[in-house]
């Protein structure tokens, strides 16, 4: 394969050519209620060629048939020739690498039978179903995927990487009359089968919370001091700030660049935010991004000040900065675009009890069930929440939707907890058509003043 790829690249007439070929096998076992939706394995093989003609633009060819790689390169080249960019497109240089990255998994899921995978998912599903009579529906899904990805570029880079992932998702739906409440838990990692064994508590928690939410009151809408749990804080920083750090939003847009000018104050002195694709064991981690750039820790906010952003080779060149290792593609059907990897808020020193002690009336919001940002505005649905009354966590509330303006909200973070956690949750990030891309979020508990909570 290596020889065939390099031979095809060698004949390209483009200024830069890159080819990525992927061979993937994936297994899914999914239960919905008492029914097995599927227990099946699939095979997916294909590739992508990207060509850059500096004075024209990009051409991309994606394909399933690996028969005639030179023809694919020619197709991508012709596509690039057809484009018509007004300014020449440059790519920031990266070190040439030739490397083979293999994995060694504890209890490799490729050696586990479909019967055993089904038994695992079925056992968790039974925990959900039998928790209480009020549980009327469940979703319980086990999935694993193993890809071999080869990246070759006209710059001389050749990287072969094995990419495993295993995941578990458990959701319970509780119903009482017309009131339907949902809760879910998930776990995912670049790990073996053992990562999703022994997770009975995860299923029990999802079921218990769905039932508890039936009895919870809807939160009264208004503005509150809010303490956010690490899971929700991580999703918040990813959605509300992380996407604005992706330079493909900035690099062609002078007003956006003014808004995200380095040196601008984004938070109070204690706030530090980073993205790091090299942290061992996390879902967003790879040694290299999908252009062959080594990953690393990138500081985004340091001591409250904007100090960095995330780049591909093209955005880095355009903005006169260094590539950061954040060009990622979800699979061979897509070109790499600027994406996050593992994004986090650095911990502070405040214990949780101290954080809530001074709050007479507030909300403790936990987990994120969906959210969206339209650049400066964000909206999140928290999975579950509690009122804070006179310095204590009080009754559970539901329908807690946090919304606001990113800039004012970041400046209103006035306490950072001492209890940092990376979230090993499933799901993924969506951008363009590329969903779900595995990423990780990390944070401590944080306190935000004056948050708009939507409710009745």
């Amino acid at each position: 394969m290596r020889d065939r790829m390099n031979a095809a690249l060698g004949r390209s007439k483009a200024d830069y050519t890159e080819m990525r070929i992927e061979q993937r096998e994936a297994t899914t076992v999914a239960f919905r209620g008492r029914n097995l939706e599927t227990a099946s394995a699939v095979i997916d093989t294909g590739g992508i060629v990207r060509c850059l003609c500096r004075n024209n633009g990009w051409g991309v060819a994606t394909f399933n048939s690996l028969e005639d790689l030179p023809a694919r390169v020619e197709q991508a080249y012709q596509c690039a020739r057809a484009a018509h960019s007004e300014q020449p497109i440059e790519l920031a240089p990266i070190p040439v690498r030739d490397e083979r990255v293999t994995v060694s998994l504890d209890h490799d899921f490729r050696g586990v039978s479909l019967g055993d995978k089904k038994a695992l998912a079925e056992a968790y599903n039974d925990i959900l179903l039998t928790y209480s009579d009020e549980i009327v529906d469940t979703v319980c899904r086990y999935a694993d995927t193993f890809s071999r990805v080869c990246l070759a570029s006209s710059g001389g880079t050749f990287i072969e990487e094995e990419r495993p992932e295993v995941s578990l998702f458990a959701m319970a739906v509780a119903r009482e009359g017309d009131d339907v409440q949902t809760s879910h838990e998930s776990r995912a990692g670049q790990r073996g089968f053992d990562f999703v064994q022994g997770c009975e508590d995860l299923a029990r928690t999802a079921a218990r919370r769905a039932v508890d939410l039936l009895r919870a009151e809807s939160v009264v809408g208004g503005r509150y001091p809010v303490v956010v749990n690490p899971l929700l804080a991580g999703v918040f920083i990813h959605e509300a700030f992380g996407h604005l750090s992706e330079s493909d939003f900035l690099y062609q847009n002078p007003q956006a660049r003014e808004m995200m000018v380095l040196g601008r104050r984004f938070g109070r002195d204690a706030l530090t935010v980073f993205d790091d694709g090299s942290v061992p064991g996390l879902r967003g981690t790879h040694l290299y991004d999908d252009e062959g750039t080594p990953t690393r820790r990138n500081e985004l906010i340091k001591d409250g000040i904007l100090v960095g952003r995330l780049h591909s080779r093209e955005t880095a060149a355009k903005m006169g900065e260094q590539p950061t290792g954040n060009a990622r593609a979800i699979n061979y059907r897509h070109p790499p675009i600027v994406r996050m990897t593992n994004t986090a808020i650095e911990p502070g020193t405040v214990p949780f009890a101290d954080m809530i002690r001074d709050i007479q009336l507030g909300v403790y919001a936990c987990d994120a069930y969906g959210g969206q940002t339209a650049l400066e505005s964000f909206s999140f649905s928290s999975g579950y929440a509690y009122m804070i009354r006179d310095g204590h966590v009080a009754e559970m509330v539901k329908d807690v939707i946090l919304a606001g303006n990113l800039f004012t909200t970041l400046l209103n973070i006035d306490a950072l907890g001492n209890d940092f956690q990376w979230a090993h949750a499933g799901g993924g990030c969506g951008k363009g058509n590329q969903f779900p891309l595995p990423t990780t979020e990390g944070a401590p508990h944080i306190r935000i003043q004056d948050v708009a909570i939507g409710g009745k």
């Binding site: 051409g59 994606t62 529906d137 009131d179 969206q372």
Partner: protein, 432 residues
């Protein structure tokens, strides 16, 4: 031996689906034509019923057919017993979903269309950044099962998606719209003109105080009301009991003016084809008629489990087995011209787009969303864009009393057609 025959030596029922597609894409980024793409996809998906148990597998690797066979057998070994029967041949309506004019649309023409969209939007807002993605392609579907059904057809999807961003200081306005069709539409760029109109209207910002007022949902905003309904009519949600519409067929739950239809036979619509992805003919399915619940959407398996027949709504992708999905959804035109609806509003809100569609407990009918695009209506006229506005409610309460539904409808996000919907009163929450 042909794949279907091979499968039938080991199973009572078998279905082989071959999917193939070629798509050409032209992309404008920040107002410039920067990227063009060609995509070729192909693969095989199989299902069998062996000893009464259902199995599934798929492969995009043409050299992996032996493993495809062993994978589907293993899948069936652990599959559920499902009383599903792959269908015998049924005649389908003639549905126009393939147009050589689209299939052969030259790249230069795609570029020209993209350029027109960019120029249109820049003429309203010269400092804006416009991204446009234009795709045209051909999709081939061939299905063969043991009951003798042999279905083969092609479709020619064309889609044009545009987003425009204007930044002034810390105020970011970001708008999005699209068109999707399978037969060439002379007015394909109508969506871009509407986007340009929204952009022009959005220039002036006006304050709004929290208050109860009539709320008019523009078609893109009407999706907030339609989404919980879309979840409720999914046969799977009905079968599992989480849909609020379980057991309510024949009951009047909504205002007379509420109608909801799924129809995969509409000529040229984005979701149209003669058959669904299981070889069952597409047809018109009435879901809600004059406020009365009429039915739900099913694929073969969910129908078999529910003791009903498939409604022709089995949808699949190469790697996912069929599940119920809408084809083209419509809330048909109402009685009142939009101009008349507007004229009757003294103080109100026009909802253009909401943020966080689908978040929260939408299966129960509840929605709570900040609005990414909304306008104040005063004495029948739009007087400016409002910011920091949120609305919340439950469709099972709100749609019991609908003040008016417009005659005018628009296709939004590809394959949903919605009218303007006026609700007499909602609590509109603002930052003021």
């Amino acid at each position: 031996m042909e794949l279907l025959e091979q499968l039938l030596t080991r199973s009572e029922q078998a279905e082989v689906v071959r999917l193939r597609g070629e798509t050409t894409t032209v992309e404008f980024e920040a107002n410039q034509f920067k990227t063009s793409k060609v995509e070729e996809t192909s693969g095989v998906a199989v299902r069998i019923v062996r000893n009464g148990r259902l199995g599934f597998s798929a492969s995009s690797d043409v050299y992996a057919m032996d493993r495809l066979l062993s994978n589907v057998l293993e899948s069936a070994a652990f599959g559920d017993e499902v009383p599903v029967a792959f269908p015998a041949p049924q005649a389908a309506a003639a549905v126009a979903a393939f147009d050589p004019a689209i299939a052969e649309l030259p790249v230069s023409r795609l570029v020209d269309l993209g350029r027109q969209v960019v120029d249109l939007l820049l003429s309203v807002e010269p400092e804006a950044q416009v991204n446009v993605s234009l795709d045209r392609g051909v999709q081939h579907m061939a299905l063969h099962n043991q009951a003798g059904t042999e279905v083969s057809f092609k479709r020619s999807p064309l889609s044009i998606v545009a987003d425009v961003t204007c930044i002034q200081g810390d105020d970011i306005l970001s708008l999005f719209d699209m068109v999707a069709t399978t037969v060439w539409d002379e007015d394909a760029l109508g969506f871009a003109r509407r986007l340009a109109d929204k952009l022009a209207l959005a220039r002036s910002i006006t304050p709004l105080r929290t208050a109860k007022m009539p709320v008019l949902f523009a078609p893109t905003g009407s999706l907030v009301l339609a989404l919980p309904l879309m979840q409720a009519i999914d046969g799977k949600n009905v079968f599992t009991g989480v849909s609020p519409l379980v057991g309510k067929v024949g009951e009047k739950l909504f205002d007379d003016k509420v109608d909801f239809v799924d129809d995969g036979t509409l000529d040229g619509a984005a979701g149209s084809a003669p058959y669904d992805d299981e070889g069952v003919p597409h047809r018109r399915n009435a879901l809600v008629e004059r406020g009365v619940v009429k039915g739900f959407l099913y694929d073969l398996k969910t129908a078999a489990l529910s003791g009903v027949k498939s409604t022709g709504n089995g949808a699949r992708t190469l790697f996912r087995p069929p599940a119920p999905a809408p084809t083209n959804l419509m809330w048909p035109p109402g009685e009142t011209p939009l101009a008349e609806i507007m004229a009757g509003i003294d103080q109100g809100l026009l909802v253009g787009d909401a943020l966080g569609l689908g978040q929260g407990n939408t299966i129960s009918g509840a929605f709570s969303n900040p609005l990414s695009l909304a306008f104040k209506i005063e004495k029948g006229r739009i007087v400016g864009r409002v910011k920091g506005v949120s609305i919340a409610g439950n469709i099972y309460e709100l749609l019991r009393d609908v003040a008016a539904v417009s005659r005018e409808t628009l296709w939004v996000y590809g394959s949903i057609s919605l009218p303007y919907i006026l609700l007499p009163e909602m609590n509109v929450v603002t930052k003021e």
